[in-house]
Symmetry: C5
Subunit: 354 residues, 5 copies
């Protein structure tokens, strides 16, 4: 989270619309892929230069230009010029510290969402910013690096599975959003498992690391929440916004994604409550531990301190101590000591400390 | 709760409208029962195939088709085709991870609610998803398994008790919702008893399990809350939504169910406060325990440590210790020890520790 | 609070409008009293049968029928039939687990409020449900048992004191609401005194019962809050609702009651903060106690353990211990011991522990 | 705060509009002062009877009648009759338990606000209720006792400083409100200083009184908050209410007071956070204290218990203990003891306990 | 924060519009700089008297008058007179305790914002109030002292970089706001680093100062929050307010700043959660410490107390103690002691305390 503002400050004072890539550069070379299709035709290619995708702008077919890598200002500027995109939008695309948002510029809609994935070791959620420009017959998507959650959509376009080849660019944008929100469920599943592991370990073996793990989970929760909450609004506005770019039939699908984001938000809230419960358990287990340590100390001390006192009595060197001379008094004293210890133990048994 | 997202992730990337059963399969074979009635006639049968219920669609009588088991995609698809249901609705029916919701498709209304019941051992709340399709003259309800809270409604239809036979399909849908919300009160009653038991046990015998029980109850509370809160909105929208499928007379009844859901939500809030109070009691009882343990240790130690010191003094082997030779000094020392102990005990009495 | 759902579950599944008395039966025999008045005339009688009050329905005078005891379904049903009351309203009247609410049926307004009183021993708040039917020229009030806060209103009607005899039925309904809200202030006063007593006892003498008392007060607070909060809305709707049954002049009076409910709600919030403060004080007094116990133990132990060690040294039986043979070494050792103890005590004084 | 409901309950059941003084009687004799002015003329006098101020009602000049002491029902009633004030307003004026509010009766506006001042010893905030009646050319203000924050306004009227003599009654009402809100800043300043003193004392010298001080401050905060929050609404409504009694030019000034109330509310929130921080510091300082006490005990005990054991060994009276007869073994034992103590001390140094 | 009300109280009772400088005087002499430009021309000068900037008011070019130092009432009054500014606005300009706000006076817009910067030692955030008057062709900005975040804007005007020379005064005002909000990111970055340092130190080396640092950070957070939250509203109102002074093209830029303020607010919320997490970690580390101390004490005490008792037994002086005379019994006792200690150690190993 602290990173959120890190590079942002480098831009302070620059004129608006200055294209400065904010964030870590995650890919070597920008990769541009184009998919162009309608109900009958389908064409897919990897472009070497951004100019290759310009002719598709005026074709009636639906065109999806996907750009992996947003550090090359040249490409972004050319797209901006050719498709007539507002400079502030271009600035937002290359700034990976955006909040999910949706802006309607009539000729196109600009969308920023966060794509969440789990790393291989499954113990870190990684977020990547995906920006989309939705025009009448094109979708241009910008990602920070290679690899995404859109492979099944590409297959559906290639194999003409489902409705996607029959619908317009708005349906394609919906499909991308849907895939991203579906990805949240995988992340939630991962988080849920880690919370369960945490809950078990807190009971069985609480350590000083536990609170670090809890704080770490809380932070990932915040990351997720900050990705999901604004998304609700984004999708809600898309649906109700009355943009001419969104067909009415797509609205039903958007409401479905909207329901999913609410479901994700609900689950996040449940998880948060569970984590707080775990924290309570951890803190009270610390108290319980202390109680147990104190009990051991108290039992040992209260049994032996009185009998040690008795031994001390008869270790005194007074010349006139009648008991010392009596036969059997040594064994009587042993008896008294065992008796005292027995009373103590009985007392602890009664108190349920043993 | 973690389960909420479990199977959901298996669907990531599939085209929308793909019928994939999400959730545990709870029944072997799908069971279809049909009740068809108007003010005069009544007919009830168990259908072997889903096609048997199709003719009822065009009859003027009210038809209630109840389907137990939603894992058979074939049946769901056929219903969808015959009754003209949107593919996304069918997808929602077979996905048991839905949030309660209501969608008005003009020709029919789609409802998702959660039916809560207590297991026999009374220590677990089990939730089952009930979906309903309300048409002009039919209600199709989908349940995850056999057994529900609708038996009294069936009796009322069979025996023509109350208004149910005189009213339309919307009244039937209301009656089903009413029965489900009434079921919440039974669950609340169960929860209330368990909270009372917990409150007693926290005072009498707090153990390390207590916090687990508290966290468990909090989780069931969340489950209930997540079932009830969206339901308020669902029923409120049904009442005010202005759908032609809901008659004005049914509105009064819906407001009654609405009041009940608010009552349930209120009770949940009270319970939550009670559980938080119990948690406070538990944590402070840990502190009290520690205090008691410390008190015992302190009393024993502060009585015996000084007198043991006195005994140590006269255990020294100096050649010139005048007291050692005096007659009676042994008994004087005993007296001093008893005096010191007495002062200590008086001090503790004053401090209210004894 | 757990009781809130208790009997409610017995009704699960019954058809709506079934008159089932929900709650404890608090009175043996239903008592019906009638007051009928206008500016000049006044008549008061206790009716033996409910039919006696029917003729008043069509008289132009204002009639107040008060019914103590709501377990007799027969009476309720007859009233319902004669005055044309909706079955669901009758069901609500006999269900004492209602939330305060107001429903406008055009011909009459239905009100449910909670009347709170303090028991004689002053340590329990008891809540009673009061339902009212406000018609153009009548108010029918239903109470669970004999005894209420309306005696001064009866006096004002009898003696024609104030405006009550000059105004209509809506003013009477206002007067009843006003008396109930005034009753809340008495309850608040009682609660305030108990909180003050609690605050004093927490500082002077915190016991393990304290937390039970705090939780008990919190629960009564919730009861009060649940009675008052919905009432705000009820009275606000009455005032702004635009019902023809409420005259404009009565609106000013209703706003006054509305202000009072806000004042009650405010005071409840203050009390809640005070109770939370008391809980903090209690918990920190536990820690303080522990500190004090530890201090006593530490002082005794750290003074006597070192000197006991010194005594132990000269209790050793080595043949070559030069000090043992020296004259006066016994007294030197005493001096050393007193010195060590003195240093310890000075240290504790510096630490402010003594 | 408990007092809030104290006297209130004495009124329960009385007819509305009954003039009963609720609150402590704070002044012996009611004092009535009149200021009458316009741009040119100015007149000031202390009235012996309330009738003296009646002629001013119909003069075109602005008249400010200030009444200190509201226990004399006779005066209040006469004002009510002469100026045509609603009985409920009169009831509110003499009830000092009001919440700040504003009511527009077209011919006049009724305002209730709380005037806060610091007592001489500066350790208690005292609240006084100020009611105002704002008419077309008069302001009547009611205070509980002599002494207020309006002296500078009186000077401005007398010396014709600022705009006050050129403006109407609404500007006078604004000026009074402004003076009251300015008074809140003085109270806040006082509170701020006390919080700073508290913060210092918590770190330097936490005592058991600290929590009482914290709870006391929290309570004064609540008092302030309850005075300020409704005031925002009151002033906001005055500004936007569209009353003919408020000129448009005064609106700008009211917005300025509105900003000030928001500033006061903001500062209260900050103070609340600071007090909560202090409470945290206090509670953790209790834990720190305990840790320190435990450390002292542990250091002393763990150094002396092992060496006392060694001394105990050679205090045994076995006939065959070879070490006892060896020369120098006494000194060897001393060396061992010092070594053990040294190891312990080194361990504590490593642990940073010394 | 306590300072917020400090000087404010000095003004209590003064007539509105009184120019009283509230706040610390931060600069010796007021410095006035003027920049005047349009697309072609550019002029910059430092004015000796405020009258030098008056001629620019009627020129068509955009003029930016920047005033460092607001303690000279004379200058403020002259500006007020010449530019026709409302007295209350002038009063607000010289009162540095303002909340960020925006007021539209049709002929000009008045803006108050907080400029935050980090001091050189990087451990304190310093806030400075910046007021702006935005007219049709001028911006007058008031700062408390020399030094600001506007240097890059001055460079852009001088070098005609970006759009600033082509746009009007509203764009200049936007640019100033943008620079101030960009400055917040630098402050956030600084805060983020300090929180990270805190988090590390809490785990590695928690001290009693830690809570002071946490409370200090929380306070700076509140300062930031109080600067940012109202700013959102300010910028939102500027954008949607429909003022003729704000061109439509500038609206897009304002929405961009708006997004940034939301991003800042989001980050503040995350930081707050992190700080609360740190506080939890700190408090639980106190408990852990106590546990560790107790463990050491318990281990030492429970090992040596029993064996010391055994030594005490054979230090008794009874004449008939058979063991004392046996050969080898000394070594047997040693063996028993070592055995007891071994059992204790094994027990602690099992408990995971060693």
């Amino acid at each position: 989270m602290p990173g959120t503002s890190k590079r942002m400050s480098h831009k302070a004072g620059l004129p608006p619309g200055s294209l400065v890539h904010i964030g870590k550069r995650k890919v070597e070379k920008t990769r541009i892929t184009i998919m162009d299709y309608d109900g009958e035709k389908f064409q897919e290619k990897e472009a070497q230069t951004i100019e290759e995708c310009f002719p598709f702008k005026d074709k009636p077919t639906v065109t999806w230009v996907n750009i992996d890598g947003i550090h090359d200002m040249d490409i972004i500027e050319k797209i901006g010029k050719h498709f007539g995109i507002h400079p502030l939008v271009l600035e937002d695309i290359v700034n990976t510290r955006q909040r999910p948002k949706m802006e309607d510029f009539e000729k196109y809609i600009f969308l920023v969402v966060k794509m969440l994935t789990c790393e291989q070791d499954q113990h870190e959620i990684s977020a990547e910013q995906v920006s989309m420009l939705l025009g009448p017959n094109f979708v241009i998507s910008f990602q920070e690096r290679l690899g995404d959650v859109f492979d099944q959509i590409r297959d559906r376009i290639r194999t003409s599975k489902g409705r996607i080849r029959k619908e317009g660019a708005d349906y394609l944008a919906y499909a991308l959003l849907d895939a991203i929100v579906d990805g949240y469920f995988i992340v939630l599943e991962n988080l849920g498992e880690r919370i369960e592991i945490l809950e078990d370990s807190v009971i069985e073996n609480p350590t000083t690391q536990t609170l670090q793990v809890i704080n770490g989970l809380k932070r990932e929760m915040i990351l997720l929440r900050r990705s999901v909450w604004p998304l609700r609004e984004v999708i809600g506005t898309l649906d109700r916004g009355g943009s001419a770019l969104i067909h009415e039939t797509t609205g039903t699908y958007l409401r479905d994604v909207y329901d999913h984001t609410i479901q994700v938000a609900d689950t996040i809230d449940s998880y948060r409550d569970m984590i707080i419960g775990t924290r309570d358990t951890y803190l009270s287990s610390l108290s319980n531990r202390m109680n147990e340590i104190m009990k051991v100390l108290t039992i040992i001390a209260t049994i032996f301190i009185p009998v040690t006192f008795i031994a001390g009595i008869y270790g005194m060197n007074f010349q006139f101590m009648p008991e010392l001379g009596w036969r059997g008094s040594y064994f009587v004293v042993w008896g008294v000591m065992i008796g005292v210890a027995g009373v103590m133990i009985a007392y602890f048994k009664k108190k349920d400390w043993l």
